[in-house]
Amino acid sequence: MQLSVGHLFPDLMNIYADRGNVECLIRRSEWRGIQVAIHQINNEADLDGLHVDLLIVGGGQDRQQLEASNALQGAVGNFVRHACENGVVMLAVCGGFQLMGMRYVDADGLEISGLGIFDMETIHPGRQSRRAVGNIVVELEKGKLVGYENHGGQTYLGASVDPLGKVLVGSGNNFVDNTEGAKLEVAYGTYLHGSLLPKNPHFADHLINLACQRYEPGFELSELDDELEWCAHHEALKISGCTD
């Protein structure tokens, strides 16, 4: 099997190790004999006839985020929207997650329009306001996610989208409602980096499995030796004062 992964704005949205997630998807697929081709997706990319199974986008600084949002108004935005409508798996992290909402109001009050994949909006209350910074633990339906969050924007979900999980330690989407991230069919958004996927192998495999199931419904990934992965996962839980 061969998977095609689209990496959105690798040059703009890459602050703090978003490449760790991409590297994790590649390795965990290859270790099982699944080949992965990575396609960079930005204004310069030739998107004609490009097929992807999974889309991934990371976080960026305000200036880079504005550039990315401009690009999303054109061909790149159409490509992503079309992919999501066709059941392509998506992982959007931090700044990239914010761009997948309806709108983002930045620290200077400038309104940046989002792609509207998730029914949500994000407001940055200004440079002097408290940022959400620190280790974070999130409870999913099955298992937990560990990571680190660092964002000024406060995200509020609308009625037609579910949170990815419930915050056990940390802030998540905002300081108010204990929700973290967003989930709509096979599209996932989250504030967690750390990097997210290597330390949460169950979630990484969930994404890879969904992408594979586009070719073979009911496909099941083979087991890997994840001792180090779970060791790092449990260490992160311990740092946050959580148990499994």
């Binding site: 602050i15 190790a17 440079r127 180090l228």
Partner: protein
Amino acid sequence: MSQVNVIIFDFWGRGIEKMREFVACLIARLAVWVLHLCGRRGTAFPGRIAEMLHSNYLIDLLNQIPLGVLLVSGTNGKTTTSHLLAEIIGRSGIEVIHNASGSNLTRGILSSVLPHCDWRGKLVVDSGAIGVFEIDEAALGQLLPAMTPRALILTNLFRDQLDRYGELDSIARLWRSLLMQTEGATRLIFNADDPSLAFVATGYSGEKIPFGVTSHNLNAAEPDQWSDSSLCPRCSNPLQYSYCSYSHLGDFVCRGCGFAHPESSCIGAVKEIQGLTSSRFSMTFGPESIEVNLPLPGLFNIYNGVAASCAAYVSGLGIQPQRIMDVLSKTSSVFGRGEAFHIDGKVMTLLLIKNPTGANEVIRGLAGLETPTDVMVLLNDGVADGQDVSWVWDVEFSMLNLRSITVSGSRCADMALRLKYAECNADDLSYVHKDVRNALENALCRAREHLYVLATYTAMLEFRQELVSMGIAREYRK
């Protein structure tokens, strides 16, 4: 009557001020003494106490230094640059007050000045003394509007500890606004190869001295896509490079607004880089040219050498290029930054890694060695390291040609995971030891001749302390 009142109040006010200086200094000195009795070395604590008792004390003291103050700030290279600068000036017969320990918040600077005060808390130094201090990027704002340094040296801006500093742009924004308020009497000496700093400098109206490094045979054509500053700091269009030395440092121009690399008045031309031991470069000062054999590792230390030389030469202290060449050629590495130790007939080099750019340069140096290397990595997540350990995923560990690797530190599990995904092909991968002494014994046992220890800031301090207790390293006092 009113005049008498004013005089009385003024006298009373000054009396209180003197009293505060006296008390602040006395208690801080007591703290130094108590720490000493406990066998500890206080690099920040005494200053912290003095600061609590007298918030303007540091500014008062700095303003008393006869030849003024040279400040060094930036993401990487602060400690080495200020060390080299203090050495060049000190060897020229000028008394230098310097925070050599690398403790670079205002309290650390104050701790380094206090020993130069008398019992009343007044500064007692030569009439020709000067201050050389490294200062944390974010803490620069606590000094700059309140005082006018003789020179400000800015080394570079890379992504670093985003949990503490916020975005890279926010430091640049802070510095630019500080410089806009700073009096024109300060000389601004900055790395012109760094687009963010070149832009920061445009906000300053006083004297500017840009420096840079050319290394035509060593560099890549353009920065890789992961580098921090791919966009023009002025108009956000992509930058174009005619050459790049490392990360986003190089000769850049913006396709959009024409913002370009300012012409450097101090240029270091790289001749040779010898692995992680030394390098050779030349510099021209007016009619005179010097060639430096710098016994410090990597291209990043050439930048530090050039920054220090440039600052020493232009600061109006009458220092001759020949002197600069002599001092740099005989210098040794600073505390944990390429420091070498001898143990069990093997050599061990301790290399501080703080952020992706610095770590990648160290990795590049290791990858350039001819034989497979024995490496130990210590990853901590203390406040001074950055509590977010994500950054290790931006480090190219896959470049390493390893013989053995050992991992320790408070986040050793994260580090081991990073190495697993980098698919480092060591013959002997014995990973995780939480206990650092245990890890060291294990790593040394397997190392052939030379062990390279890469450590984050607090891990480096702990590790060095461990070496002191083992009798391998000496306590760092300066």
